[in-house]
Symmetry: D2
Subunit: 151 residues, 4 copies
């Protein structure tokens, strides 16, 4: 188990791990989506699909909650590898503006990596594919807590 | 717009409304799922499907978040009918125990129905179909806030 | 360490413990304020003082947050006694209505008592001294999480 | 009412306003504490006092919650002046590490300033007086929502 300044999984390890333990979810952890993966930080980019939308073309709340959880799990897994079991214990999200895509960028800071708890701070905003979002005007912000146990 | 002691939509109205504005989501609001609908309270029962599960047979966090939001929207819509637009502004959820189904029961208390904000308190627990869950040992609890605007 | 159905401290033990470890805070844990103390539940009643008020006679937000934390710590301590160290790790509160006193009643349900985490659900409402509050129209609701470690 | 890029109160206006409407609380809004005040951002520095401490020299949770609320109110007031009434509707805080002072620095980003809601994101860390805190290892993070109404 590494500390907050060191990663044990890179983007490919992470995807390979998900393929082995939860193949149905592995797509969400694909290296193409994980644009950045650094100690204590990752950025996901999610291409919005038809099924993610509510009427009027707004990305749905459940889609954003799912993304906040996915980004948090990604950075925790990158730090802990397969040495620990991480389970979401709480998630709180504020919806600030209407997200419209076509991609949703999800920035995730790991602000605590303790022995029994990890806490992530997530910022989400829409952007055109390949462009930078305006993270000073986020569409949603979330705090996500994971409980950790060594295995 | 009715107050916290009066409903303007019953379970069928609610389902018909969802069919008209968001047919893809209407299933989640079907009268068979909405076991109770009373002023300031509703109970949903969600039959767990394969796609709701994580490895090990645990109902996934995103499924529970989605259910908390659906129950909150149901009771708010039942009070406001089509007289107002309700948009989720925040959701905070605590995951307490492993939910295993086969159904997840979602109790939702509307604790505030103001002019611009509505707040719901949600309690979730697994149960066999047709049986009462043990709501003193919930699997998840959530607070959900909706912003309201008259239309 | 007892389970969720058994208390190791009664109201006097709890007060005596606080007097020994944190005398300045012991008043908030006095037996006169702890109106009910049962497995997985307690009720505090706080007499509102001048210093708790904002202009206009509203009980301040920090006063309510403090009360939510005090009630949560009380029920956890009653279950664990001096066998564990409990530290607040998160608190989320929704302010629903203007609390005006003259007493604030704080109901606290211990919804999870695990090995490493305890979670409380708090409901607050004003009432005249000696009377029952209307807890279906609470003035604030809170979820409080404590991290536990055996000592 | 100004937008998110423009302030109507500077630090002195803010203090003068608090002195006029809530003199007992004005100290917490003094210009010496408000180290930075810019559009959509402010930084408070709080000198820890004896009464803020728990046994062991830890800054108490209620002190941090109070600071998160004070910083949020400061930036909102600086944007709105006396043109609106702002009331806290929710606060969620994560306690990550033991804060020990001697000063607590509170950074507050105004991430949404809407017509009816404002949302702030708060980051807190201890530091020696006059030095920069390490905000990548915060001691607490909070999200604070205010309801706004024009007056």
């Amino acid at each position: 188990m590494a500390g907050p300044d060191e990663l044990v999984f890179n983007a490919r390890d992470l995807h390979a791990f998900m393929l082995s333990v939860w193949p149905d979810a592995a797509d969400r952890f694909s290296p193409e989506r994980l644009e950045r993966l650094e100690p204590s930080f990752c950025r996901l980019r999610h291409p919005v699909k038809e099924e993610d939308l509510r009427p009027g073309g707004t990305v749905s709340g459940p889609t954003l909650m799912h993304l906040a959880d996915t980004a948090s799990y990604s950075i925790i897994l990158a730090h802990l590898g397969d040495a620990a079991l991480a389970v979401t214990t709480s998630l709180s999200i504020e919806f600030l503006r209407r997200p419209v895509g076509p991609t949703v960028v999800v920035d995730c800071d790991l602000v605590k990596l303790g022995r029994s708890l990890a806490v992530c701070r997530v910022t989400m905003a829409s952007a055109e594919a390949g462009t930078e979002p305006n993270m000073t005007r986020p569409e949603a912000i979330a705090n996500v807590t994971y409980s950790l146990s060594l295995i």
